[in-house]
Amino acid sequence: MIERPETAVPSIAQRNLEGYVGFANLPNQVYRKSVKRGFEFTLMVVGESGLGKSTLINSLFLTDLYSKDYPGPSQRIKKTVQVEQSKVLIKEGGVQLTLTIVDTPGFGDAVDNSNCWQPVINYIDSKFEDFLNAESRVNRRSMPDNRVHCCLYFIAPSGHGLKPLDIEFMKRLHDKVNVIPLIAKADTLTPEECQLFKKQIMKEIQEHKIKIYEFPDTEDDEDNKLIRKIKEKMPLAVVGSNVVVEVNGKKVRGRQYPWGVAEEGIFVENGEHCDFTVLRNMLIRTHMQDLKDVTNNVHYENYRSKKLAAVTCNGVDTSKAKGQLTKSPLAQMEEERREHVMKMKKMEAEMEQVFEMKVKEKKQKLKDSEAELERRHEQMKRNLEAQYKELEEKRRVFEDEKANWEAQQRILEQQKLDASKTMEKNKKKGKIF
């Protein structure tokens, strides 16, 4: 069943009023403003051709929405499923209602009906998209609400159960729009058959976990009793009629058969003829606003959060992204930015560290290299010095030797000289005998 959002219970100071203040007039102010603004409602009808959809719409709103001038879709032959909308303005008791009826001619009429729900889904989504875009604009003007508020799904009165198409359609749409299933052309079923049919349908709906529109409980017990009664009648079985016939002196809308008139408008305690009045009361007189609220607060929000999550969490696994859904996409980006800044800081620190280390390494290498070269140079120098010393020593020795020899030579020379002098002397003295 569709979840209803809870309202927060505040823990705030209570105060008692000691006299009439006047804000009890607020509801009147709201009333006044809403009448001035006017109302909008979009109703979608889905079902195979010939189930009396157009007739029912005209009956519901007591107007000739589809008339000679504006023929309804049933007059036209469709090959594929179309989605068509008609907009009318109706006034009653000072209240203006812009009513949009969305029809789906061709639905379920083909031989192969696979995906015949797709155009319907596309239509609903496109209205959500329009609203989302309008809501997200920077310059927002008044946003007309063209979203589909209610979908009446017509079930053919086979008397047996739901067709696969019925189940498929409702399953695909129950998350997008308020689905109210109706048994069409109920005048072909006897009351007992109708009861059985209803039970069967509800059983199947529950089995397939289809979430049809649920009437909210109110605070008023009387109302709740009525609501419970209505719930027991679901799905509502209807007969639509554009014709007014006379029954027992009274003019009623009904369908005239040879065996009698199936009346549309009488609401009898035990629901004799059909649930049409129940439908009208529920749809228009009591729950129209709730249908709009559920569309806005539940179906639209579903659509929106899915759409936005897709944009922000591109490719991220949705289960991980759950925590991120509580933020707006912008806050999300802000957080990502902060994370990135931290990551960058860390990366910078790491790179800085690596850089410093490498520099230190290189510097050390250079130092080592310098030391090595120094050392070698020193060695060579010392080597050279040693050689020098050796040379010096050698020279000294040589010099000494040379000096000695020269001294010797001089002595010899002197001797020789002396000897030759003596010989000369002797030669002069006489001949040697």
Partner: protein, 421 residues
């Protein structure tokens, strides 16, 4: 978006359909949900703001009278649950504490503007969330600002003008003359006229009671001409005739709060609460909040159309923003990397330079060393040469000597031979 105005045809109804209950359905929902209203009271300390609130709502709200020694303006907010018949109202009263008490009042309005903006921001954040709960959100946006004017009887203070000018595009301002029992009737009319003309000449937009709805147009437009309301507040009761009425008792008479001849309290209550409370809320949401939102989004770079005037869809906008954002982050990363690459290059060049210098130094030393070695070699060689030369000389000399000795010997022999003969 389709234009509804022209293309919608009106069709007559053949009977009573029942959608005229729509306003009632809507009202029932609102009543069930409860209403909320937020009032901001701006005015100097001692002008009777708290008392007026108590009088307006017939109850006693929190608050001790504050002293005049506050260092700055702070805003104190209290929320109350009130009920009248079946209508529940969550009322928040925000008071400016310390307004007008400082010597330098230039920044007095700032905390007020910040507070109002903060409430808008909170709502905007909620509205932008992916999973949001707007229908149960406790709206804290200020719906009405009662601006308390001191009853000097002359004109508005410049603080008043400056503050109201800063607030008029953010909140519905309802100016009131506080403690108006301090002004004589004749002066009051002149005072009101002076105030109104000063507001107009300074371009201050105060809240106008709406005149577009026929049912209330007349009373609203009459009341508009009575602005600013001259009010008196009192929670004390005095017996007048056989009734207890709220009043202030002076030696010269009693000022009855709810007597329209004495002051405009009733008018204020009528306008603020009984007739236009919903309009105040609506104006706040559709005008002031939208303005804030528009400015904020534009600040963040959101546009409705691209330069070619094609409208953006929300998805495109967000995706574009996201891409821009990611691109920015990547650019930052790239820049940092580049910076490092640069540094590494520079440092490498530096170190290479150092290495080169080192090698050059050692090459020089090596060359010096080579030179020295050569010199040494030369010296060695010259020594060796000398040694060789000397050896040769020595050998030659010894040879000569030997020869000379031999010759000398032979000469002696010859002599000896001659002698013999």
């Amino acid at each position: 978006m389709e234009d509804e105005g022209e293309g919608v045809r009106a069709v007559p109804l053949a009977g009573h359909v029942g959608f005229d209950s729509m306003p009632d359905q809507l009202v029932n929902k609102s009543v069930n949900r409860g209403f909320c209203f937020n009032i901001l009271c701006v005015g100097e300390t001692g002008l009777g703001k708290s008392t007026l609130m108590d009088t307006l709502f017939n109850t006693k709200f929190e608050g001790e009278p504050t002293q005049h020694n506050q260092p700055g303006v702070t805003l104190k907010s209290n929320t109350y649950e009130l009920q009248e018949s079946n209508v529940r109202l969550k009322l928040t009263v925000v008071n400016t504490v310390g307004f007008g008490d400082q010597i330098n009042k230039e920044d007095s309005y700032k905390s007020i503007v910040e507070f109002i903006d903060a409430q808008f921001e909170a709502y905007l954040q909620e509205e932008l969330k992916i999973k949001r709960t707007l229908h149960s959100y406790h709206d804290t946006r200020i719906h009405a600002c009662l601006y308390f004017i001191a009853p000097t009887g002359h004109s508005l203070k410049s603080l008043d003008l400056v503050t109201m000018k800063k607030l008029d595009s953010k909140v519905n301002i309802i100016p009131i003359v506080a403690k108006s029992d301090a002004i004589a009737k004749s002066e009051l009319a002149k005072f009101k006229i002076k105030i109104t003309s000063e507001l107009v000449s300074n371009g201050v937009q105060i809240y106008q009671f709406p005149t577009d709805d026929e049912s209330v147009a007349e009373i609203n437009s009459t009341m508009n001409s009575h602005l600013p309301f001259a009010v008196v507040g009192s929670t004390e009761e005095v017996k007048i005739g056989n009734k207890m009425v709220k009043a202030r008792q002076y030696p010269w008479g009693t000022v009855q709060v709810e007597n329209e001849n004495h002051c405009d309290f009733v008018k204020l209550r009528e306008m603020l609460i009984r007739v236009n409370m919903e309009d105040l809320r609506e104006q706040t949401h559709t005008r002031h909040y939208e303005l804030y939102r528009r400015c904020k989004l534009e600040e963040m770079g959101f546009k409705d159309t691209d330069p070619d005037s094609k409208p953006f869809s929300l998805q495109e906008t967000y995706e574009a923003k996201r891409n821009e954002f990611m691109g920015e982050l990547q650019k930052k990363e790239e820049e940092m990397r580049q910076m490092f690459v640069q540094r590494v290059k520079e440092k490498e060049a530096e170190l290479k330079e150092a290495e080169k210098e080192l090698h050059e130094k050692f090459d020089r030393l090596k060359k010096l060393h080579q030179d020295e070695k050569k010199k040494l070699e030369d010296k060695k060689k010259s020594l060796d040469d000398e040694v060789n030369t000397f050896k040769q000389k020595k050998t030659a000399a010894e040879l000569l000597q030997n020869q000379a000795q031999q010759a000398g010997g032979s000469t002696t022999l010859k002599r000896d031979k001659e002698r013999k003969n």
